[in-house]
Each structure stands twice: as structure tokens, then as C-alpha cells.
Symmetry: C2
Subunit: 289 residues, 2 copies
Amino acid sequence: MKDFRTISANTQICAVIGNPIAHSLSPALHNAAFAELSLDFIYVACRVEDVKNALAGMRALENFRGMSVTIPHKIEAMKYVDDIAEADRSIGSINTIIHEKDKLVGLGTDGPGALKTLVDAGIEINGKNILMLGSGGAARAIAFTLALNTKPGELSILDINERMLQQLTTDLKAGTDASIKSQLLTQNSLAEAMDTADIILHCTPVGMHPNTDASLIPSDLFRSGQVVFDIVYTPLETKLLAHAKSRGLTIICGVEMFINQAVLQFEQFTGVNAPVEVMRRVVMEQLKL
Amino acid sequence: MKDFRTISANTQICAVIGNPIAHSLSPALHNAAFAELSLDFIYVACRVEDVKNALAGMRALENFRGMSVTIPHKIEAMKYVDDIAEADRSIGSINTIIHEKDKLVGLGTDGPGALKTLVDAGIEINGKNILMLGSGGAARAIAFTLALNTKPGELSILDINERMLQQLTTDLKAGTDASIKSQLLTQNSLAEAMDTADIILHCTPVGMHPNTDASLIPSDLFRSGQVVFDIVYTPLETKLLAHAKSRGLTIICGVEMFINQAVLQFEQFTGVNAPVEVMRRVVMEQLKL
């Protein structure tokens, strides 16, 4: 295992910034991956309130190679980078910053991480009806990524927050040619949407620790053949996933998306393929602490 | 030995900034000391041109605890910190920045490192005549530290650079009550100063690698009982020190000052006593590579 004696001016520095940051899994995850491949990189975690100056510092510290950006800075960070891909501009947030020679490049790996998770699980997306619950930051990232990179049948979005729902719907219709349908989340709209959904993407915090006894979808709405993907990963198996599993459906745990967004960040930081199994093992160890 | 898996949001980050920075011994030195005491600190090295934003970043990254500042940033860095001790203001440069809860405190450890080196070597300073060769940054730091913290007999300063010499002389007379004498460095002024000097402090780059065959002091000027301290430490024994040693004089190698300035930085970063022997061993290993 690499130890601190190997650090020199050649060492590339990466960090996660956010607030709070105390429980971030990212240092353990990325440092294990750097060590596995004997890369001269190190990853730290910093509580930050002042995003602007954190990024000014990243520019000034020339070997500060990469940054993971987490809550509450994913939107504001966009203001202080030089380049952002069109898709990430539409999504409206970034979670990764790469320090190229003379500029900062912002991008998001949440959406691509979710897509990779579906692809890795062998889920066919093209032509399938997708039901997305939620229209917040993660939902936006996943919806745009799917709409821009796959050809779903219908993408139906439900939320209780009408303003956010309308914003995402408007933005998706303006920025993609996907077939979008959105409705306020009610018992009726949910039952109707479940009736035609092939893939259900749960993108709200419902069911997350400590409120693990909650689920948005009544168990009797599941139909055989559906795939249920919950982005919540604490607990690893949410009540939603437990219900879906008990009905014999294919379930995908949010931890895979968490791992994949980190895998894609790692590959942006280093330019080499990530040691995915090492990263998964570290995440699983940390989540079971 | 600590490894990278121990890094978390609690880890305190320290860095050296400078340009060039590639050959800095500081990461090896401080990381070995952190590891020896099992402190949750890490030390990196960053090439920096933009000091202002490097320090803005330090402020924003809340666990960025300490910074070593090296050439060419020791003067400019003073502009961007909140507090500087009066002595360091007089010296006109800093080599250390500590991130307290809501402010950056600048200070210098070169002068105190030199003083500690003399004290550790058992050299009596009070009442002794000191001859200082050079009036640049290191000379300023050492001269002010000695003038403010000890009671030498006469502090005589020689340099070939009249402007720098006058500036230091004026500043010392304004800021301390030491007895200062300064003269342009010539064969005659050197011979005269050597005739009354008890302690000779060599603070110019003469004799530094690769020009190791040079020495400012003709061997026949040494008198028995003199102490010769050369701040140059590449090579560990300069021609000046070799000559002084062959004349039976007490010699002090600049590497001890280098170690001590780092020891004092470490104690500022961590608030605990530095493991001096570990730090010395690392420096010696690195210098012999």
C-alpha cells in the first residue's frame, strides 16, 4: 500500500468539497483506487462554504488535478469553471471539475453513472417506457442523460413539487427530442404511470436512512417484468427495492450508481480505467461500518 | 506507517508552495513526522505562480491547516494574510502560514530556526561579536531574530550589494536596539571584521552546489575560538566550513537550520513537539540521494 512518504511535487491532488463533508466515502474510495493502480495521486476531503475561492485555489495550485463537488455546491460551481458540456449545462449542475493545463472543465457523472449502471445490469432501455419519480438534481441528470443517449419509448415524470417538475419538463422538451410526459404525483397518476412503465427510476429521498420504512410505490402497483432502480443507497436495500424484489422484479440498488459516478470521476481524474471491484469493495466496507 | 486509506474529512492538509518546487524536501520531511506521531495530517507540494489565489483557496478549504511558503513567494504572501508578528513585518518575508478558524496568520521560522540551531549547539551569543556576510532574505531573518531575542556585542554586516545592505542596516537600527555596523564587503573590510568576530554567519549563496569550490573567507583570516555557521547546506560541508574545520574552529552546517525551520513549522501546524530525529534522518537521506 502506498504511504505518505511517496508524496512529492509530482503527486496529483484531488478533493471532494461540500458541506457537510464529514461522512464522505470519496477519500477512501479514490485513494484505494489510486493505490491499486500505483498512481501518484492523492484524494482529500474539504468542508467548503466559499466555492468561488475554493476553485480559485484549485487554479492556483497547479497539481490540484480534480475535484468532486457535492451538496450544496453542485449548481454554484458551474459559475467558476471555464468549460461545461452542453448536456451538463442543460442539467444545471456538475459534480466533477478537472484542472486541465490552463482551465477548469466542469462535468457531471451522476447521469452517466446511472446509465452505466443500467447498461451494466443488462437492462434494455431503447423503446422502453420509463417512469421517473422526482425531478430534483439527480432526476435532472438522469433524465437528460437517458434522453440524450438512449431512445426510451416514453419518459414519464411524476413529482409533488410542481415548479421543479415543470422546469425539468420544459427543459427536456427544449433540449432533447425524447417523448416526455409529466404529471403531479398522486395516487391516480402513479397507478396510471405504473401500468405502462417498464423501468422505474426512483429519484427522491423517500426511504433513505433514517426514514427507511417509507416507499412511494404501493406494492400492489408492481407488474411482472418491471425493473426498479432506486438511487437511494442507505440502506442498500430500500423498502421500495425489498417490495419489488418480493414481487420477483429486477432491482438495481443506488449504490451501483454511486460507485459508477465515482468510477467515471476517477477515469476523468487519471485518464485510465478504474479498478471497479476495488472501489465497490471499499464502498461496501464503508457502508457496513 | 500511515497509508492513504486513513484520509478523511478530518485530515488536516498542509502544503508547500513555490516555483520551482519539484525538488522540495518538505513533503518527505513533514509526512514522516506526521506519521511518526500518528497525526491525522498530510503534506503536499504545489507549484504556484498565483499566490493570491493559492491563499484564497487555503481560506476556502477549511481543513487546509498550514502552508510552507518558499521562493519566490515569501514576500508577496505577506499581502494576503490577516496577522503578521511585528518581527516578521520588519524582516519583510514569511515562510509559514497557519489557518486559524477564521484567519490566516503569517510568520517566519528561518530566523528562529537559525537561533535554535545556535542555542542547540551550545553557542553563547550574548556579548559576542557577530559577523554576518550577506543582507538578503535569510540574512534579514537571522539578523532581526538575533537582534530582538539575544544581546550580541556588535552585529557587523558585510555585503557587496550596497542597496540591500543599507536597507537592512536602516531597518535594524529602526526596529531593534542592537549595535549594528555595516560595510561594503571588500578584502579590507572583511579582514578587519574577521579580526574581532566571535561568530561568523555566512548568509550568501557562495559555495552552494554546483559552485562548491568557492568561499568568501580566505582561510588565513580565521582565528581560533571562532564559530562558523554557513546557511548553505548543499553540500552539507561547504568549502567555508571545511576550511574553518581544518583550522580547528567550531562549525555549524546549514542543514541544521533547514531542519529547525521545518521543526518550528511542524510545531505551528500541529501544536505538538516535533520528532526532530525523524526529521533529521529524512533530510539526510534525501540529501544523500
